[in-house]
């Protein structure tokens, strides 16, 4: 997979998917909020699964920075969205929407996470996305940081210990 997203049209900004717990620890939520804010400052669009916890914190963070968050929901109910998404895509395809959530990112950032996040990290790997995983919270992101999921890719899931470390790693990958 290419680290530098290709075929981006002139209008489209870099899209960054953030995945993680819907009911995280407060500290994890704080990280997600900072990640959202960072994405906004870098001029990228945030994509999430549209609901609570990490997803909501990311939306709130990018909103603070004047950016846009797109929430991709498992149901067909706009009302399931958290209060901070700027654009909402209901899908009615259940947890299979996890596949779309990560596919819509040029990059994927994972923070904490249970089985839902694990399915998303798997899909991100399958669809060739570069994945960054937070090492500071319990869950699948920490467990899989600096590892590979199988032999089909030579790279690894890239661990990060702070938002400033993540920013340094992501900045060169933002096209404009």
């Amino acid at each position: 997979m290419a680290l530098i997203p290709t075929n981006m049209n002139e209008k489209r900004k870099t899209q960054i998917t953030v995945i993680g717990d819907s009911k995280p620890e407060l500290e994890t939520e704080r990280i997600a909020l900072e990640v959202g804010e960072m994405i906004g400052k870098l001029g990228a669009i945030a994509i999430t699964g549209g609901r609570g916890g990490v997803m909501k914190a990311v939306a709130k963070g990018i909103d603070k920075a004047g950016g846009i968050c797109v929430g991709i929901l498992p149901t067909n109910e706009f009302s399931e969205s958290n209060a901070y998404n700027h654009i909402v895509i209901p899908t009615d395809i259940g947890h299979a929407r996890n596949s779309i959530t990560v596919m819509a990112g040029d990059l994927v950032i994972a923070i904490g996470g249970g089985a839902g996040t694990l399915s998303e990290i798997s899909f991100a790997w399958i669809y060739g996305k570069t994945v960054f995983a937070y090492e500071g919270s319990e869950g699948w992101s920490k467990a899989l940081a600096n590892q590979r999921l199988d032999e089909k890719r030579r790279d690894q899931i890239i661990g990060f210990k702070s938002v400033s470390e993540l920013e340094k790693k992501i900045k060169p990958l933002i096209r404009r």
Copy 2:
């Protein structure tokens, strides 16, 4: 179905899906461009299937008006997007993405159209969306204007003969 979208969060603007031919007549394309521009002027977000023809014209129109167009693609390739989408959601679920394209709109506007558009009008009806159909181009939009698809809904697909007529009908439904 409610004409006035409910449960919109504070951040989310009205989302309007536009569906239609990927290879339309020039005249149909011109209408789609005007519809895109109108959506932008009304302060709403445009949603399309992300590819050529009517979809591209809508994106170009709303771009002209300074608005945002979200393209929801059937494949997992960002490169399949037309050059005017501001946000691109690849799905890799084939034509089943037609279901999501219409679900993501508070309202749906149909212009011309073959079997793909017909599947989208059907889904818009099933998911309770208010549908506006252009009566000026050949295709399923014209054929189904001012009709109902089955007895489960009491309303009809609402025909329109010009973009100014459509604007008058849509304006009261835009929340802000």
Copy 3:
């Protein structure tokens, strides 16, 4: 599209999808029951959307003939299946499962039908399936019989007025 299904492996029998109303007239239900029975006698597998009405009648019919009916459900609940399906595939992808229901047939038979059936006929057309439509019940099957949905295909939806007429038309298309 090819009338004669290709690439069938040695083990797989011809699969025939039947679509139609979940709450049909009694007469329509009777036709569906006969169609199911006919499919069983021809040695083919029946595929449906797994629920009530035409879907249930087809399953009951093929069961009577000692055949197998596969029900493909919109939800993730086995319990949503009618009582006659021999194999049940829950999908949790909502009405988008209509796409899979018709894709799983080498041939598609439509009986009656509202907006859901209309979306299925559209998908069958898009995915190149040969579609047979019953002309004896009100609904989209009758309305579209002997017509084409767009210019991308040269053939038509093939109307039939009785199960014996349908059997004559389908028999040569069953591989074994």
Copy 4:
């Protein structure tokens, strides 16, 4: 989640999903073949992702025992099926079909596996399925055996070291 499947209709037999590598070691393939044969002898239906490796071995095994294997494909091409599936469900929803593959099982058996299998184990956990994981081959099945994926469930993924051990564990869960 219930170990004993509920709401099974009178006609439907127990459905068992088997997941695993498309390019496994020979030894892993042998286990999959035995598992397929065992499922057939127990009178259950096998469900797989429909392609090569473990999926093909399971289909071959159950065919030997006179049973039925249903292959659920990611593409819309019947020809992508292995040569042993008795029923083929093309989906055209890409890797998101992994969600349906496990949902269609009353039970799920995992053998070996890379990122694709990992996404399937995650979905099986999310959808409340009882999962059995082979401890004798490298891959995610071994890595996750006798563990839980998150705190939302109290049970674990159940490890097994031989097909006879698996048979003892599964037999009481087959309804008829």
